[in-house]
């Protein structure tokens, strides 16, 4: 546990130190929130959504922020590889599982902070949360998204030599995951086959879970969301640690 904490501490320290990254990665979500939210608020009406379209996409934008931050946090292992720091960790008498878990929780924590920042911004532009327990539920879902996708990032980073493949992963994996998640549109309104894709996307359950927590209603039962997302998280942590164990430098 000490080792996991050590790795976690390092991630968080590095994160809180790079203010520019912190603010920089808020840019895109805030942009989407304002442009889509205010731009479409009067045009789009979502049935059963009291807070309008902007209320509808806030959980989506929060998920997006958590998703991107956590994948990026995982992939940062490549930097450690290139700048040599990874060797320092790997040559120590500690298990790779501990290292991987520390990195994962560290990344998930930074992602959660990033998500909470969007949440605070949303309060400023008028979001009304349904209840405090609901807010806590939303936090649990943010954590699950953070952990699973940091682990996913670590899995990818374990197989990548340098950052060249990063764009590829962003464009062909992460953006589709975000786009298909029902973060920006209600799942119900989709044609049948796209809806199936949406239901295959793990992030969907995160978005819906957060939506339930913050707004008090969602299309998918939050209990189902929790079970599926937890399962996905366990799978990703297993997958990430398996690949990380075989990382070579």
């Amino acid at each position: 546990m000490d080792i996991v904490y050590t790795l976690w501490l390092r991630s968080v320290k590095r994160y809180t130190r790079s203010k520019s990254r912190m603010v920089g990665s808020l840019g895109m979500p805030v942009f989407l929130l304002l442009v889509l939210g205010f731009g479409l608020n009067s045009v789009v009406a979502i049935p059963g959504m009291e807070q309008g379209y902007i209320g509808f996409i806030i959980p989506g934008i929060i998920s997006m922020s958590v998703l991107f931050t956590s994948v990026f946090a995982g992939i940062q292992i490549i930097w450690d590889k290139q700048f040599g720091f990874l060797k320092e960790t790997l040559v120590a008498p500690v298990s790779r599982l501990e290292i991987m878990l520390g990195q994962t929780f560290g990344g998930a924590t930074t992602a959660l902070i990033q998500g909470l920042m969007i949440f605070v911004l949303s309060l400023l532009i008028g979001l009304e949360i349904s209840s405090i327990p609901g807010f806590l539920i939303a936090i649990v879902f943010m954590m699950l998204i953070g952990i699973s996708f940091t682990a996913f990032g670590i899995a990818i980073a374990s197989r990548m030599e340098d950052m060249h493949g990063f764009q590829l992963i962003m464009n062909f994996v992460i953006f589709p995951i975000f786009g298909l998640s029902g973060a920006l549109f209600p799942i119900e309104s989709l044609p049948g086959w796209v809806r199936y894709l949406t239901l295959l996307d793990p992030l969907t359950y995160g978005v819906e879970g957060i939506r339930y927590g913050l707004l008090g209603s969602s299309h998918i039962d939050p209990a189902i969301c929790f079970v599926i997302l937890s399962g996905f998280t366990i799978l990703m942590v297993g997958f990430g640690s398996y690949l990380f164990r075989k990382i070579s430098i």
């Binding site: 000490d2 700048f83 040599g84 060797k87 790997l90 040559v91 008498p93 430098i249």
Partner: protein
């Protein structure tokens, strides 16, 4: 269980068809400073990587501090401290934080951590800058920090892979002093790689000269130099083959070798024979461009065993790359 600090037996590493380390065998005693000297690509770092459990050997065995590197990875890791050839610090953290991270990773109890870190940072004279981010450090400061970090958990064996590569002569001397003192005062066994002759000469009790993955000579620096036969006369001449046949007959020669642009003659009391050689050459009409005498160095030993000089110019190129890499951020 073996009693030596390190025992290596037929250690081999292949990358595909290429054999980087070829059947290495040697023994390092406790408290010894042992040097692996060789040109770029000789297989020094690969050997270090295998001994520090970072790389699996293709065949062969090795024990570090009595523990099998294959079967007892964790114990080996606990026994060693390592300074890698390439930088391995977290530049976004301060020196103190880098040390603290290491201390926690090696499970040094909380109450000792701070004291030990401060003590070591003082030793390498970084105490005053301990709260500065490592990215603001110079190459020499980083190297000293890496050495301090490698010592934090009091390893029995310290691995230093090119510890002074890319440092200025002054810092280099400084580091040599530390390394020497560490060995003297704490009795730490040290295995270091280098392609600086002077470094090997000054620090190491015994030196293994390694080339193309194989040990070509292993002894004390003294013995290695003596074994190539007294002093060395180097003669540069455009007709070196003719020169060779002229001086061949000179009495008292221990060995004579023809190289790319010169001839080297190994013999005792060289001063006394120089005049004679010059006379013999001019009598036979063989021109001599230059002639020099020196006491043998490890460079001569290397030349003697491999027929090549250790390619320091390549090393310089690599150093520059390394320095560039370090200042990239």
């Amino acid at each position: 269980m073996k009693m030596s600090a390190i025992t290596v037996k037929d250690l081999t590493k292949k990358f595909g068809d290429f054999t980087a380390v070829n059947n290495l065998s040697f023994d390092i005693e406790k408290g010894e400073v042992f040097g692996l000297l060789g040109p770029n690509g000789a297989g020094k770092s690969t050997t270090m990587a295998m001994l520090s459990t970072m790389l699996k050997p293709s065949s062969g065995q090795a024990w570090v501090n009595g523990y099998d590197i294959l079967r007892n990875e964790d114990e080996v890791r606990k026994s060693i401290g390592i300074v890698f050839q390439d930088p391995s610090l977290d530049e976004e953290l301060t020196a103190y934080e880098n040390m603290d991270f290491h201390a926690r990773l090696y499970r040094i109890p909380k109450n000792e951590r701070q004291k030990k870190i401060t003590e070591l940072l003082k030793l390498v004279e970084l105490d005053e800058k301990k709260d500065n981010l490592v990215k603001t450090y110079s190459g020499g400061m980083r190297r000293r920090l890496e050495i301090a970090r490698g010592l934090l958990h009091e390893p029995k064996v310290l691995f230093l892979d090119e510890p002074t590569l890319g440092l200025d002569p002054q810092t280099r001397n400084h580091l040599w002093d530390y390394i020497h003192r560490l060995n003297q005062e704490k009795g730490i066994t040290i295995i270091l790689t280098t392609h600086y002759m002077e470094e090997a000469d000054k620090l190491c009790h015994r030196i293994a000269i390694i080339d193309k993955g194989q040990i070509i000579a292993l002894d004390t620096s003294e013995k290695l130099k003596n074994d190539i036969g007294g002093d060395i006369i180097t003669i540069v001449s455009s007709e070196k083959d003719n020169l060779y046949s002229v001086v061949e007959s000179l009495p008292g020669i221990n060995n004579i070798e023809v190289h790319d642009s010169s001839i080297t003659i190994g013999l005792h009391n060289a001063e006394k024979h120089v005049a004679q050689i010059v006379n013999m050459a001019s009598e036979s009409g063989v021109p001599i461009d230059s002639i020099s005498i020196h006491k043998p160095t490890l460079e001569d030993v290397f030349l003697h065993f491999t027929g090549r000089t250790i390619r320091e110019e390549e090393a310089t190129g690599k150093e520059q790359m390394r320095m560039m890499q370090r200042s990239r951020k």
